[in-house]
């Protein structure tokens, strides 16, 4: 077990593209850290650099205090699980799991003991003599994990290990991964593009965008104090709503109505040097049916909107609506929309979603009085995407 440190690590490909730009990350001993971001953000390249499968163009990578930039993968003592599992098709499950130990010339009885132990842990004992072709997707995935576990490496690297499983199995395997990491206490670096996976699994999460680490923090930190528009929009499901807003003499003019900006917020916005135009962000759960708010009403703002779609999930209701002229624009938002596929759906980009209590009387196609909690409002600078009120 060891800590992994990325010290100003940069990866440039021969064709000139920068896949990872000046990444700094301290992964503590035994920590479970997630690299998350849309496809092409450099998260897998980061992982490959830690594994030694990609050269590091600049900067230093240290595992357990040792600089490993020049070390071959085999000398780094790390195990990796690949998205497509990369099981050796000509070997049985047992041989797949034993491969690394055989290469390391471990004693035969020791190999058998370790393989059996890992197989028990992953409930693979019955399949040890099968070839990967005769296994289901979930079983193959477990063999891939088993192959990593038997080695008792310094760190596990996982490259979207669950993305080829169907939704139900994925949730099951998520808990298995969590359990294994807890049991073994080994440092784990886990790459995913699924923010739900990131929030549920990680001790800490690093959000990446276009080769740059945007923010590193616990899931709660990322959710409640996103440092910029991108993190705010990427973390959370359904995603945060973004609306344009303008400042006028201490007032904030928004498509939902005008509201008074508290003095300290105004000071922070001035300090950040943002212009008049801002972007405000509101999480869906900070809306409520105005009829159900009660005495919290003064902290927020009431407005009315026409409900386009209503999704009733039992515990709560999701209400989707559009607001006149309510399209916030910023580069980060366009990227997020493209990643989520919202650009392919007409009206998908500027739809607002609110999560209401199940008791709400909202009906599709009808006007509804809605309320939002102004204290939970996030304000961003549309120029650089920075959060203004942290």
């Amino acid at each position: 077990m060891a800590e992994i440190v990325l010290d100003h690590v940069t990866k440039r490909f021969p064709d000139g593209t920068t896949a990872v730009d000046d990444a700094n990350l301290q992964i503590g001993d035994g920590e479970f850290i997630i690299l998350v971001g849309p496809s092409g953000c450099g998260k897998s390249t980061c992982l490959n650099m830690i594994a030694g499968l990609e050269d590091i163009s600049e900067g230093q990578l240290r595992i357990g205090g040792r600089v490993v930039n020049q070390l071959a993968p085999k000398d780094r003592d790390i195990a990796m699980v690949f998205q497509n599992y990369a099981l050796y098709p000509h070997m049985t499950v047992r041989d797949n799991m034993a491969f690394a130990l055989k290469l390391a010339k471990v004693d035969r009885t020791e190999i058998d003991r370790k393989v059996d132990e890992a197989a028990r842990m992953l409930e693979l004992t019955a399949f040890l003599d099968r070839k990967p072709a005769n296994l289901s997707g979930g079983q193959r995935q477990r063999v891939a994990m088993g192959r990593a576990i038997v080695r008792s490496p310094q760190a596990f690297l996982m490259d979207e290990p669950l993305s080829n499983l169907d939704a139900k199995l994925r949730v099951q395997m998520r808990t298995t991964v969590s359990r294994i990491q807890n049991q073994l206490g080994t440092t784990m670096v886990y790459v995913t593009h699924d923010q739900t996976e990131a929030l549920t699994l990680g001790d800490r999460v690093a959000v990446m965008r276009a080769g740059v680490i945007q923010q590193v923090g616990t899931p709660e930190e990322l959710y409640e104090q996103p440092r910029n528009l991108f993190v705010a929009g990427f973390i959370g499901s359904p995603a945060m709503n973004f609306l344009p807003a303008t400042r006028e003499n201490g007032q904030l003019r928004t498509p939902l109505g005008d509201l008074e900006l508290p003095a300290e917020v105004r000071a922070k916005v001035d300090q950040a040097g943002a212009g008049r135009n801002l972007i405000m962000g509101l999480r869906p759960e900070h809306f409520e049916d105005a009829a159900l708010v009660g005495d919290k009403k003064p902290q927020g703002l009431t407005f009315s909107a026409s409900v386009e779609v209503l999704e009733s999930l039992g515990a709560d209701k999701y209400v989707y609506f559009h607001l006149q002229g309510a399209r916030a624009s910023a580069r980060e938002l366009e990227e997020l929309a493209a990643d989520a596929g919202a650009t392919d759906v007409p009206g998908g980009a500027d739809q607002v979603v609110a999560r209401l209590d199940a008791a709400s009387r909202a009906r599709e196609g009808e006007q509804l009085e809605l309320w939002f909690d102004a204290r939970k409002l996030h304000l961003f600078n549309p120029e650089n995407g920075a959060h203004l009120t942290l």
Binding site: P73, F82, N84, A104
Partner: protein, 276 residues
């Protein structure tokens, strides 16, 4: 008669025609090889007087037996070298990005298309100068020249189908690049290697142009060349029976090969065609 049956009949007839056209010459050679010298020209398909005299005759002379040893040795060495060198080159072509890769592939293909006959006289002179004339290496080298492009091309099609992640996995598991190749990639490419080996072997085994031009004695003359030196009982007699017997003998290894590996050969040829 429905259309399914008609299609089947049509296929049956055309297949039969193709098989007859292909197999009659082979059977004719076999039949000749069993005929008594006096009945060789009688024109019957089945020998009227069966004899093993022709076979006994060719195996009595060192001309043929020595040539058989040369043929087997030269073809096997060339095949092993072509597969070993070819698979490494093919792996590099399939996996690595390096400057001039396109040029390299184009150049190998160009060599494969070069008419061998045009190389014969320069090689003849060159080989005599540097002492390779009438030696095993003197034949193995030009065979490699022409079989390597074939080997590289077929093998790289196979390697391209093997997921790269397998090699990455092996290397993270602690394998050196060479171990990853030997223990993970090569076993998976084995069908491709067998196919390539057979194709290369057949090419070397059948070659006549280089064999007749670059050899002069039993030291390295292969069977196809040696057959041309067969002589009859008298100088007025063509040794048809012996030639037929030798022809039948050297067909046997090829038939055995193809019989055992035919499915692999077909798989190899088609996978090369689709993926190449």
């Amino acid at each position: 008669m429905n259309s399914g049956a008609r299609t089947r009949t049509l296929w049956g007839v055309s297949n039969t025609v193709v098989i007859i056209v292909a197999i009659v010459p082979v059977l004719w050679i076999a039949s000749l090889s069993f005929k008594d010298p006096s009945t060789i020209t009688d024109g019957t398909f089945l020998p009227r007087k069966w004899t093993l005299e022709n076979y006994r005759g060719i195996f009595d002379t060192s001309l043929f037996t020595r040539a058989l040893v040369n043929s087997i040795g030269i073809a096997l060495i060339a095949t092993v070298l072509a597969v070993v060198v070819g698979s490494m080159a093919a792996y590099a072509i399939a996996r690595l990005r390096f400057p001039g890769k396109g040029l390299l592939v184009a150049a190998t293909l160009l060599i494969a298309m070069f008419p061998p006959i045009s190389l014969v006289s320069p090689l003849f002179n060159l080989w005599r100068q540097i002492g390779l004339f009438d030696t095993w290496p003197g034949l193995i080298i030009p065979y490699l020249t022409f079989s390597l492009p074939l080997a590289i091309y077929t093998l790289s099609a196979f390697f391209r189908e093997i997921p790269w992640d397998l090699e990455k996995a092996a290397r993270v598991d602690g394998a050196t690049p060479f171990q990853a190749f030997m223990r993970v990639i090569a076993p998976l490419a084995a069908p491709g290697m067998v196919t390539t080996a057979i194709l290369v072997f057949i090419f070397c085994w059948n070659d006549f142009v280089f064999a007749i031009s670059l050899t002069s004695t039993n030291a390295s003359r292969t069977v196809p060349a040696a057959i041309a030196f067969f002589s009859g009982a008298s100088q007025f007699e063509t040794p048809v029976g012996s030639i037929a017997a030798a022809g039948a003998v050297i067909t046997i290894p090829i038939i055995i090969f193809v019989f055992f590996f035919q499915r692999r050969i077909v798989a190899g040829l088609t996978s090369g065609a689709v993926k190449g």
